[in-house]
């Protein structure tokens, strides 16, 4: 068991459209993997398979050395195996308070299912200070999510994953629609994941954001892995050039298809 996630030759199609055409993908322990690719490349499908939201049609997947049966794998099972996914828009509920959001689905309750509000608030307060580093003004455990900024929301979602001992945190476009200042905060959160010895899969369009925090990059195009690079082997500029090469190829093919 030397990899956290190991996928070989994974296929997935939706109603006749093939989204993944034999993907090989892996995530090591304490590794941050940046997944890059255009819209429709298959990035989202890939992470939805890892997070248990979708099942794959063919291929093999191992998590911590355990072979996964695609029919039985679910979000709940992924959680219990230490895999947490943070979706940008879907991570938190806007009208609810911070403490309710942190413990949703894993409430601290008595035997009858009534929530121990005091304990949940205390824990949330602890998480805010120890994990998130929120010493900010105006944000407390009773804050309603819609009053937080985009970066703070990502912080809450990532901290929640960390608190529940996730070994792998999957981030889907965590910096989309954020200001530069907010992006910095999110990148800091990703650094904390790494510092605490956990792994992360970071999906983005933006190479400049992915580059500084990732150990490895995987480029995906039209359902296939087209390149894998180590952080120390190339600079941001070299990585950009590599990726542009692929986009060019794919654009040419697209044009070719159009002519045909």
């Amino acid at each position: 068991m030397d990899k956290l996630v190991e996928m070989t030759n994974i296929y997935k199609s939706y109603e006749g459209v093939v989204a993944l055409k034999g993907i090989d993908f892996e995530v090591g322990f304490n590794e941050v993997v940046g997944v890059l690719g255009d819209n429709g490349a298959g990035k989202s499908t890939l992470i939805k398979i890892i997070s248990g939201a979708h099942c794959f049609d063919a291929g093999e997947m191992y998590i911590k050395g355990v072979k996964i049966n695609p029919k039985k794998y679910s979000v709940k099972m992924a959680h219990s195996m230490g895999i947490e996914t943070v979706y940008q828009e879907k991570a938190l509920a806007d009208k609810q308070t911070l403490w309710r959001n942190i413990f949703l689905g894993r409430q601290i309750t008595n035997k009858l299912g009534f929530i121990n509000i005091k304990k949940e608030k205390e824990e949330t307060d602890k998480i805010m200070h120890d994990v998130m580093g929120f010493r900010g003004i105006g944000v407390d455990v009773d804050s309603v999510i819609k009053t937080l900024s985009g970066g703070e929301k990502q912080g809450v979602a990532i901290s929640r994953a960390m608190y529940f001992e996730a070994d792998l945190v999957i981030l889907d476009e965590p910096t989309m629609a954020l200001s530069l200042q907010e992006v910095k905060k999110v990148l800091k959160f990703i650094q904390t994941i790494k510092d605490k010895g956990k792994s992360c899969v970071y999906i983005s369009h933006n190479i400049a954001n992915v580059y500084p925090v990732s150990d490895r990059f995987v480029a995906i195009d039209r359902g296939k892995v087209v390149g894998s690079y180590n952080h120390e082997d190339l600079s941001l500029e070299e990585l950009s050039e590599e990726l542009i090469k692929y986009t060019k190829v794919s654009t040419q093919i697209n044009q070719g298809e159009r002519i045909l």
């Binding site: 828009e89 009208k95 009534f114």
Partner: protein
């Protein structure tokens, strides 16, 4: 630091602003009634009468608050009230067993709720359409099986009569049940895992699903809960009037919804107020008496009721926006 603390205090206060506003509104309405017709509203009897009639709206308004909190709607409850009342009546008439009659009646509410919930979740039909259809279907069904005829129920000789609609001193028993149910629903919605799931589903269904909430199951249970509250209203009506009649529940639809909306629960889901629904049930339930006692014709009731809904909902929305 002092500044920060006061800021939090202000924040905490603003969280209850909507409810404080509602208390003030309720108080001013009753003060107004007392001024316009002191001979009625300064005596206890009118309040006793409210306590005996308001719980019927109140029960269903509490159930509806859960449905609204999860971002859905139920229009079938007035018919469920009639169906459950009928089932209670015939079961009691044929078996003479109160317990069996209660079980069968409540079960009918549960079943209707289950069908509503299943059609909404599994088939994916909007709840407004499902429950509208169900409203007609059940009303028709209870008319067919009852042949459209009213029936008397001789429940007043059983002990259960005292338990459900008897009097505890000057207080009608059904109002105590109403208070009990309101307290129970308050804890269920705001202190229980289940209620938290309801609020999150109303707020953002996808978030709830991603965090492992079984969205469909919770929705079906809430529709069943609505069915049960409508059944209870039907049963209590049968007890109180000692009669079942085929149009039972007619006229409750708009009053019940008004109670939930005036109370501060919005149709958008994710937010609800049990306390608000509780108070607003009394406002809505006392309007007609207050208006008639003031010497205005009964035609004013709807007008004032409409005015009240528009004003209170506007205030609720503005208060929330300020936050």
């Amino acid at each position: 630091m002092d500044n920060l603390e006061t800021k939090y205090k202000v924040k905490r206060f603003s969280r209850y602003k909507s409810q404080i506003g509602l208390v003030i509104m309720t108080a001013s309405i009753f003060v107004l009634f007392m001024i316009t017709s002191p001979e009625v509203f300064l005596r206890g009897r009118i309040y006793q009468s409210f306590l005996s009639t308001v719980p019927f709206i109140g029960f269903m308004a509490l159930g509806l608050t859960f449905v609204l909190a999860m971002g859905e709607i139920d229009l079938s409850f007035p018919s469920v009230m009639a169906l459950s009342g009928f089932i209670f009546t015939i079961t009691f008439q044929t078996t003479n067993s109160v317990i069996l009659a209660l079980i069968c009646s409540i079960l009918s509410g549960v079943i209707v709720g289950f069908i509503n919930g299943t059609l909404v979740t599994s088939i994916g039909i909007p709840s407004i359409v499902v429950t509208l259809g169900m409203q007609f279907l059940i009303r028709g069904f209870s008319n067919i099986i009852s042949n459209g005829l009213a029936r008397t129920v001789a429940v007043d000789k059983t002990i259960s009569y005292k338990i459900f609609v008897g009097k505890l001193g000057p207080i009608p028993a059904q109002s105590i049940w109403f208070i009990g149910l309101a307290i129970f629903f308050y804890f269920l919605l705001f202190r229980h895992k289940f209620g938290e799931h309801v609020l999150f589903i109303g707020d953002n269904q996808e978030t709830a699903r991603m965090m492992g909430v079984n969205v469909n199951r919770v929705k079906i249970i809430v529709f069943m809960l609505m069915g049960v509250t409508a059944s209870l209203a039907g049963i209590l009506s049968c007890y109180r009037m000692r009669t079942w009649w085929p149009t039972m529940g007619d006229g409750y639809m708009m009053m019940t919804m008004a109670a939930a909306f005036v109370g501060g629960t919005s149709m958008a889901g994710g937010e609800a107020s049990i306390f608000g629904t509780f108070l607003a049930s009394f406002i809505i339930g006392s309007l007609e008496a207050g208006i008639v006692a003031a010497g205005l014709s009964g035609f004013w009731t709807r007008f004032v009721c409409g005015l009240l809904i528009l004003i209170s909902v506007t205030v609720h929305v503005l208060v929330k926006r300020k936050k």
